[in-house]
């Protein structure tokens, strides 16, 4: 799409790239983070490329497939991109669950990296 703003194109391709990698070989995700990156995974904090990859690699399932329902992207005043994703995922033979994920992308030395990543399953308490 020609009339799509650049930040939206970048956000879109990042999201596509991220989940493709996550679903095929999540141990390779180190390439998108830097040592200052932060991940909040279901409320647990991880800092730095190494800790993040270790966490994602050690998740106890063999197969995962993400399906993106919607995504939104915004430019930030400091030339980063804020992305929010809503989707569904399926892990091994478990039932399908919803999830939310947000990213901040930053351009460092002509490459886009993810500095912030927050993930939550879309599960709501009930009483």
């Amino acid at each position: 799409m020609v009339d799509q703003p650049l930040w939206e194109q970048i956000g879109f391709s990042f999201v596509q790239h991220y989940y493709k990698m996550f679903d095929s070989d999540r141990t390779q995700l180190g390439s998108i983070y830097i040592d200052q990156s932060c991940l909040t995974w279901e409320g647990q904090q991880f800092e730095g490329k190494r800790a993040i990859v270790e966490k994602l690699s050690s998740l106890p399932f063999a197969k995962i497939a993400h399906s993106i329902t919607t995504q939104d992207h915004q430019p930030t005043p400091d030339y980063c991109i804020l992305s929010m994703v809503i989707g569904q995922l399926k892990v091994d033979d478990d039932p399908i669950m919803g999830f939310h994920q947000s990213f901040i992308l930053k351009n460092i030395q002509d490459a886009w990296v993810c500095t912030n990543d927050m993930f939550r399953l879309a599960i709501h308490n009930f009483v």
Partner: protein
Amino acid sequence: MSDGDYDYLIKFLALGDSGVGKTSFLYQYTDGKFNSKFITTVGIDFREKRVVYKSRDADGSSGRGQKIHMQLWDTAGQERFRSLTTAFFRDAMGFLLLFDLTNEQSFLNVRNWMSQLQIHAYCENPDIVLCGNKCDLSDQRAVREEEARELAEKYGVPYFETSAANGDNVNQAVDVLLDLIMKRMERCVDKSWIPDGTVRTNGPLHSDLSENSEGNKCAC
């Protein structure tokens, strides 16, 4: 069978680390025949089964059997992401706490599950049955029966070595849990302590639970 045709509705929750066999265990208990209903937003899946409970009184007097409508709650696997919503601990009346006999870590984590239960269940000492699952894989066993029994004794809960694969002790474990709960209820003349919706006597089911129940078989 009409949906309201039971004396008690009892909710059990299966807990334990990812991969210990909770889903297979419940599947085995319901003979693979269940109405599996997944509630996406809550992340639970539940199966239903009807049984007739006859109290085993010491004096030998046996009243009529009580019709129990059991709901066996299973997680949707969210514990793999570390996000078990503890809210549904509160609504469960009894707990099947499973670990994998071939996985020592899952046994070590039983302590964590116990403290979670003490915090989030409807009371500090809910009825729990501990199950060491996958006992059919004896060549891969990583947890000795004695140490599991010791732990169960420490917590004062029954222990079973079960196999969801071949059915060993699966019914027994659930029966003992049901028995504990029925005994607890008999002890309580005033049942006001029971969490809302956990046990309902002669009550109708939630409308969202009432469909597709014809497949339930009485297991008496």
